[in-house]
C-alpha cells in the first residue's frame, strides 16, 4: 500500500524540486538525479517516488516500464554497463564490471560504504544511525533490483540456460540483500501495523512472504493483467516471491483450481507457451520491483522525502521515545518471523504451518543469516563488525551493559549455529530445534529486559499491544 501523500501533485513537485536543488548533498550515488545506471535516467515509468506509477506507463515497453539498458535481442544499451562480454565502464551499480551474461555485481560500490555513526551516544544519534542504515540498505537493494532487472530482461529476451542461471543468481543476490533490508520494520518499508506513523507497506510489494500465494502469480501469468499496470495486483501475486516461482520453478502445472478461469486456460496452453508467459511476466515484474526499490530510496534520500531527517527528529512519532519504540520493534522480526515462522515449523515447535521463505530457490538459510545481519546492524551499528551507534550503545549508556553483552553473546551464538547449519530444508528437526533454542535465548532477553514492562530502556511492546499503565 502506498502512502496517499505520494500521490499528491504538490508532493511530487516538491520532490522534483528537491532533487534538482540538492544534488551535491546526496549521501548515496544511487540517488542522483541523473542516475548513472543504465536506462534509469530515461525510464518510462514516470516519477520513481510514486508507487502507483510503477508499471503503469510504459508497461508494454521495456521491463515493466523500466529500461534496464538491455537492447532488443538481449543486448545492453549504449552508455550502460558493458554489454555481453564488453568492457565498458558505465558507472552503474555494478561499477561497470561484467555486464551482459556475466553480471559481476558488486553491491555497495555505488552506495558507498555502510554509514558508521560516530561520537558519544545520544538517542538522536541512534535514530540517525538507524535511518542511515536503512537508507543504505534500500540503496543496496535498489542496486540488486536493477541487476536483477537486467539479468531477467536478458533472459526473457533470449532464454538460454546460461542467462537463466545469471537471472537466478541475480535473484538470489537480490533476495539476500532484501533479507537484510526488510527486518528494519520502520518507515516506508514497514506496514502501518509495524509503524503506524510512517509505515507505507512498500516492503510487502517487494517480497510478500509470509503472505505468498502461487496461484495469485499464476493468475497474472495467464491474464497478463500486469500489462495494464500493477495497481490491481496484490502483493502475493508480485514481487520477489513471484519472481522466485517464475525463475526457479520448472514445472508447467498450476495450483489454481481446475474450475477457475486460470486453471481452465492453463491446461489449454503448451509447456512452451506457459514458459513464455512466465518469462513475459518475469520481465515485466522486475520493473515493478525496481520501481518499488527506487521508491524506498526516494523516501529515505535527502533529495527525496528525506525521511531520515524526519526520523532523526522523531517527526510525526509524538516523541523521541516513541520513534525509538517503533525502530526497536524491528528486533521483533527475529522473534515473530525468523524464530516462529521460519525456524519453528521446521523444528516442530509452535503452531505455525510450514511456509518456507524460499520454496523453490531454497535460500532460507542465506535469508535467515541476512536477517541476523540486519539485527546486528541495528543492534550494534551499521558498519563492519557492528561499528557505529546501535541499541547496545544505548544499553551501555544507561548502565545496562550486562544486558547489552548478554544480547550480543546470544547473537554470536546464533550466528555460530547458523554457520554450521545445512540449508534449512535439509536440516534435521533436531538441528532446527537447537537453532530455535538459540534464537529463544535472544528473544527471551528481548522480552525480559529489552521490551515491555521489564524494559530497562522503557521500550514498549509493539503498538498493537499498547494500553495505559499504573
Amino acid at each position: 500500500m502506498s502512502h496517499p501523500a505520494l500521490h499528491s501533485p504538490s508532493r511530487r513537485l516538491r520532490t522534483r524540486l528537491l532533487v534538482l536543488g540538492s544534488c551535491a548533498l546526496l549521501p548515496f550515488a544511487a540517488c542522483r538525479t541523473e542516475d548513472p545506471r543504465p536506462g534509469l535516467g530515461h525510464h518510462t515509468g514516470g516519477s520513481t517516488t510514486s508507487s502507483s506509477d510503477s508499471g503503469d506507463a510504459g508497461a508494454h515497453n521495456g521491463s515493466g516500464g523500466v529500461d534496464f539498458g538491455v537492447g532488443s535481442g538481449g543486448r545492453v544499451a549504449e552508455g550502460g554497463t558493458a554489454g555481453e562480454g564488453g568492457s565498458g565502464t558505465g558507472g552503474g551499480p555494478s561499477s561497470g564490471t561484467g555486464g551482459g551474461d556475466n553480471p559481476g555485481t558488486t553491491p555497495g560500490t555505488a552506495c558507498g560504504e555502510a554509514p558508521v555513526q560516530g561520537g558519544d551516544f545520544s538517542k538522536k544519534l541512534l535514530l540517525q544511525s538507524a535511518g542511515a542504515c536503512s537508507a543504505y540498505q534500500a540503496c543496496l537493494f535498489s542496486e540488486a533490483a536493477f541487476e536483477l532487472g537486467r539479468q531477467v530482461t536478458l533472459y526473457a529476451d533470449d532464454p538460454t540456460d546460461e542467462r537463466l542461471e545469471n537471472a537466478r543468481s541475480a535473484w538470489i543476490d537480490a533476495v539476500v540483500v532484501w533479507s537484510k533490508t526488510t527486518p528494519s520494520q520502520f518507515g516506508p518499508v514497514a506496514s502501518v501495523t509495524s509503524d503506524a506513523y510512517h509505515g507505507r507497506g512498500i516492503g510487502a510489494f517487494i517480497h510478500a512472504w509470509p503472505s505468498v500465494n502461487r496461484c495469485e502469480v499464476e493468475k497474472r501469468v495467464i491474464s497478463r493483467a500486469y500489462e495494464s499496470g500493477y495497481d490491481g495486483i496484490v502483493p502475493s501475486g508480485r514481487g520477489l516471491s513471484a519472481l522466485e516461482y517464475l525463475l526457479f520453478y520448472d514445472g508447467s502445472d498450476t495450483v489454481c483450481s481446475a474450475n477457475s478461469s486460470t486453471g481452465k486456460t492453463w491446461v489449454e496452453l503448451s509447456s512452451a507457451e506457459i514458459a513464455q508467459a512466465k518469462r513475459d511476466y518475469a520481465k515485466s515484474l522486475v520493473g515493478d520491483v525496481y520501481l518499488k526499490a527506487e521508491e524506498l530510496v526516494s523516501v529515505w534520500a535527502k533529495d527525496g522525502e528525506n525521511f531520515s531527517a524526519a526520523l532523526e527528529s522523531a517527526e510525526g512519532y509524538g516523541s523521541e521515545q516513541e520513534a525509538l519504540n517503533v525502530v526497536a520493534w524491528s528486533f521483533y522480526y527475529a522473534h515473530d518471523y525468523l524464530r516462529d515462522l521460519k525456524v519453528g515449523p521446521l523444528a516442530g515447535i509452535g503452531t505455525a504451518l510450514r511456509n518456507d521463505f524460499s520454496p523453490y530457490a531454497q535460500v532460507d538459510l542465506e535469508s535467515a543469516i541476512a536477517n541476523l545481519e540486519a539485527f546486528r546492524a541495528l543492534y550494534q551499528g551499521c558498519g563492519e563488525d557492528g561499528a557505529g551507534i546501535g541499541f547496545d550503545d544505548w544499553l551501555v549508556a544507561v548502565g545496562a551493559g550486562e544486558l547489552a553483552e548478554a544480547i550480543l553473546q546470544a547473537l554470536d551464538g546464533i550466528d555460530a549455529r547458523a554457520a554450521e547449519l545445512p540449508p534449512l530444508h535439509a536440516a534435521t528437526q533436531e538441528e532446527m530445534a537447537t537453532f530455535y533454542a538459540d534464537l529463544k535465548v535472544l528473544t527471551d532477553l528481548l522480552k525480559g529486559q529489552f521490551f515491555g514492562s521489564g524494559s530497562v530502556l522503557n521500550l514498549k511492546l509493539p503498538a498493537s499491544a499498547a494500553s495505559d499503565t499504573d
Binding site: 509452535g350 544507561v398 527471551d444 532477553l445 525480559g448 515491555g452 521489564g454 499498547a466 494500553s467
Partner: protein
Amino acid sequence: MTPTETIAVPVWSSISAGQAASLRALAARWERVVLEPVDISFLVTFRVALGLLLAISMERFLAYGWVDSLLLEPTFRFKYFGFDWVEPLSRPYMFALFRAMVGLGCCVAAGFCFRASAILLALGLSYIQLIDVSTYLNHYYLAALLAWILAFSPAHRALSVDAWLRRSWARASGQEGPATVSHVPRAFLWLFRLQIGLVYFCAGLAKLQSDWLVHAQPLRIWLGASTDLPLLGRMLTWPGAPLVMSWVGFLFDATIVLWLCWSRSRLYAYVVVVVFHTLTRLLFDIGMFPWIMSACALIFFPPDAARRLVGRPSAARPADSVRPPSPAVRAALVLGLVYATVQVVLPFRHLAYGGNVLWHEQGMRFSWRVMVRAKGGAVSFLVRVPDREQPIVADPKQYLTAFQENEMAGQPDLILQMAHHIGRMYEARRPGPAEVYATTQISLNGRRPTPLVDPGVDLMKVRDGLRPASWILPGPTADPPHIVPVL
C-alpha cells in the same frame, strides 16, 4: 439476674454487659456523626466530575481500539476467581456497550435518570474489568469502586436534570414541588474521603522499600523515556533526579491526605496535587488516572466549598436531621462500615504472605501499589504427555496476545492459569493426563532475569488459592542496576 442466668449467657456477653451500654452509646454517637447533614455541593461536584471523566475514559477505549485489542481479540482470557463465566459480548454489542457507557457517564454527570444510569455505569465498569485479569489497572478498579459508591448516593438531589424534572412535573400538576435537597449525610463524604485517601496512603506505603527509596527504581528506568521533553527532559538526566523524584513521590503519596485534610494547608496541597498529577501525566502513560485523582482530591475540601466558590449562600440544615435513623438507614450504615473495613484491610493482606509482594504478587491486586514495579520477562511451558518421551515446548504466544503475554510474565497466578489451559488443551487432544511445567525468566526493576516459578513443579497439580504459593520461587536479593536516564 441470678447466678444461674449469668452462666446461661455467653461469656463475652456477660463480660461486656457493663460495656454494652457504652458501646451502644458509642454506636449512637457514631450514627449521629455520620448521619449529620453536610452540604450536598461536594457530592454534586463529584458526580459531575466523575461522570464526565468516566465518559471520556470509555471514549478513549473506543478511540484507541482497545475494545478490540484488549477485550475481543484474545482467544484466551485470564479469569478472576469465581468469575470464569464472564465473557465478552459479541463485537457489535461490545461497542454498543462502550458507547452506552459514554452516554451513561454523561447522564450521571447531568444527573439524568441518575440512579439507573449510575448503577448501569458501575455495572458496566465492573463487567469490563472482570473479562480479563490481564487488563487490571488500579485506576480502573478505583473508577469502578467510586462509581458504585456514587450510584448509591443521593448525588442527584441537587443541580441535576432529575431534580429539575421533579420540580417541573410537580409544578405542572399543580402540586407543591419537592423540597430542594441541600444536605446529605456526612457518611458519603467520609466514604469517598476514605476511599481516595486509601489510594494515596497505600501508594505511599508501597514505595516504602529500598528499590524505590534507595535505588530510585523503577523511576530510573521510566524517566529515561522522557528526556526529550522541553526543559524538563534535560533535568531528568541530572544524576540525582531519579532519587529526588522517588522521595518526592513517596512523600507526596504518603502525606498528601494529611495536608489536604488540614484546612491551613489544603489549598496549597491541592495545587501540589494538580502539579504532581500533571507531571505524572507528562512522564508516564497512565491515561486518565491523573485527572481522576486530581478531581477526586477535591473531596477533601469542605463539603460546601463549591457552593461558596460560586457565591451561593449555604442552605440551612434540615430540621429533621436529629431524628433516629430508620432500619434501612442503619442497614446502609452497616454495609458502608463493612465496605470501609474491607477496603482498609485488603491492601495489607500481602503481610500474611511475607516476602516481596512485588515479586510473588500475592496480595498485589486491589492494594493500590501504583507504579512501583517494572517487571517483565519470558515464559514458556513444557508439556509432558504419556505417549511422548520428549516434552513439547508450548509457546504462550500461541494462546495470548502480546499484551496478555507481557502481563502474564510478571504475575504467577496468570502463569498458573495459562499452564492449566495448555494442559487442558493437550489432554483434550491426547489420552491421559498432561504435565505442564513453566520456564520463567523474570526481571524486576531492571535486575537480571531469574526464575519466578519453580520449573520442577507440575502446574497441573497446583490449585490457585489464598494460601502462600510454594511453587513461586523467592525473589531476587541483589540490588537493582543503577540505570541512568540519558539524552
